[in-house]
Point group: C2
Chain length 360, copies 2
DNA sequence: ATCATGCGGGTCTTTTTTTATCCCATTTTT
DNA sequence: AAAAATGGGATAAAAAAAGACCCGCATGAT
């Protein structure tokens, strides 16, 4: 890792460096995840002119980092090793390493991983977060553990980025919540199944709809199958979950004005598998179906891995993570900086000023 | 110090970085030595357009590294600390650190210091070499030592860059050669006196002309004063000397065709206080005057510090340094690379390819 | 004290580079 | 076989850079 002093020297004498570095890094990272990809797609992805991008790709090709073929642009082997090798350096250069430490202290999370970029304008950031979380998740796994995974795009990213190399024996993957009326790709069940497949593990599914009347719920809970899986979920030792924002929640529960109003009154800003948190981290509401069973799931398990990024999620992250013992938070640069901002910190000496708002 | 791997990564992903870095560094260094200096002077010094330079200075001013005032451009305090702090980093970045080690092995010198740049197109390099040598020289000094210094621009630079902070007590500075028909600033006597002044030490001068008939010499040697100082020179424990090239020698001794021819036949390529060396390091000729007295001076003293730079001097350096035990060689990038070339080495992985031939 | 020199900084014109589109032949994918 | 997407190339418009000025002012020599 480079010393902090040297970064400052470099940025002083070559202030254009951070921008160049971030631009090229994002480009390589996108190619890494989307290869083979054409110049036009890249240009529109990064919202930059075709010729500007072409100049970049020409340069990277001359450097032997990418290969442009008729099917599209791919990383060469040296480009691939560069992009992985340079990641920690870029993080350190952008001050993300110190940012991680700061957040770890502020949020009282054992470890924070901050990924370069902004999830909201670079989809690849989500995958990168997923990869980071997947890497840590693998380390936490021990034989015969039960692993609970939540729904949402973040957890889906984790499942996608898990390598298909199997895992310890006897692992069982369960969803940490029932089905919501969403895209099947982001449902907890689907994600649990995919994680299990990647880990070559067993899995059980929870076939419960989102909104359910109390009567119907009571009836379903008498079903042995359902009871069984709920009990299994409660024995989970590892929990991976994303975080929903107030905005999402409102949209999902049907944008009923009444509902919105209640939400506002309650001060709910974040949601985790059916529980709604206010900024102080208190549960102010819940989807009734599973409340009884899963309420303190987050407190019972050994390892809680939280994956959430994007500036909008900063408040929700503080609400959920900042007030409960969590082991790992994987987030992105945009959310991390916003969280720091919300905690009233100014972006100071150690955080590189230019790294914010750089456009590729 | 930055790791070699990181330099390679940076150069791969941002190949324009080395050029920027070197350009700005040279600019700052020049200002450091020549402040206050105007834009026009700087532009003509670096042989670049005025507007190009203006953009650079504008940038450096925005970075707070320089202050442009009506009397000229100066370094700010942060610019000053940057330029000293960044020097080892630049060296490492340009591969000069590994170059030093290579040369140390090849030339069998205990330590080699390679200064960024080319003495032949950047006068500041000479000063920088002088500063490096002066720094080491100070460390070598112990009380009551005799220090012998040679003539030439390089030794003059050392004398100028010595700080005026005094030195150990009882030091005596003597010239390692007589007067040559040169500019007084570069004569050994002048330099010895200046070094003594900086060190607040004593000094003795040797008033012997360059070319002297044997008879005249014999007579002078009978002079007690002369004998005394020659004996003193022979008790020197530290020797600082530059190196003359074949070209210089010929010019100085009068470009007589006969002389030139003899030189060529002898294969003399380097000269040190009156002794001429061929590429194998053998003495092939000498200025008669002092031959008897000083022949093996270089072998008798404790520390020999050699200061010589510029591509043209590479051969002479190899001749003089490569075949005799020396403690320290201070040279520049151009000479160092040329020496490596002459030794038949290709510029390989570790030496940064672009660092050669960069123009500011 | 006065003068001449050289400074920074601004301005203007010319030249070069960059940018933004478009088109085409080819390959890949559907 | 058809459709979509690819890299490469060409061209015109736009922007930026470069170069060559001039001006008021401070400094240092006279």
């Amino acid at each position: 890792m480079v010393l902090a002093a040297e970064q400052e020297y470099l940025s002083l004498i070559a202030p254009e460096l951070p921008e160049i570095l971030v631009r090229r890094y994002r480009l390589l990272r996108k190619i890494y995840y989307s290869a083979p990809i054409g110049r036009r797609s890249l240009a529109s992805y990064f919202k930059m002119g075709e010729s500007v991008l072409r100049k970049e790709t020409d340069l990277l090709r001359e450097q032997g980092l990418i290969a442009v073929e008729t099917r599209g642009i791919c990383l060469t082997s040296s480009g691939e090793s560069l992009v992985t090798a340079i990641t920690p350096y870029i993080k350190s250069f952008l001050g993300l390493t110190v940012l991680e430490e700061k957040l770890s202290g502020l949020l009282k999370v054992k470890r924070v991983i901050v990924v370069t970029g902004d999830l909201e304008n670079d989809e690849v950031v989500l995958l990168e977060m997923g990869r980071a979380a997947a890497k840590i998740l693998r380390k936490c796994l021990k034989p015969h553990m039960v692993l609970a995974v939540s729904g949402g795009t973040s957890c889906a990213a984790v499942s996608h980025m898990l390598s298909e190399s199997g895992g310890p024996s006897g692992i069982t993957v369960v969803p940490a919540r029932g089905g919501l009326g969403e895209d099947v790709d982001y449902q907890a069940n689907t994600i649990a199944a995919r994680v299990a497949q990647k880990l070559k593990a067993n899995y059980r599914l929870l076939h419960l709809p989102d909104s359910l009347s109390q009567d119907a719920l009571d009836m379903l809970l008498r079903e042995k199958k359902i009871k069984e899986i709920l009990d299994l979920i409660n024995t989970a030792r590892i929990l991976v979950h994303g975080i929903g924002t107030a905005e999402e929640m409102a949209r999902r529960r049907g944008a009923g004005t009444e509902e919105m109003k209640r939400m506002n009154e309650e001060g709910a800003v974040g949601e985790v598998f059916g529980f709604f948190f206010n900024t102080r981290g208190e549960i102010v509401d819940s989807i009734p179906s599973l409340g009884l069973y899963l309420e303190d799931l987050g407190n019972r398990v050994d390892n809680v891995i939280v994956v959430a990024g994007g500036r909008k999620k900063a408040e929700a992250i503080i609400a959920v993570v900042g007030n409960h013992p969590r082991d790992l938070l994987v987030t992105d640069e945009a959310a991390a900086k916003r969280i720091l901002e919300l905690y009233g910190h100014k972006e100071g000496e150690t955080i590189y000023p230019n790294s914010n708002g750089i456009k590729i």
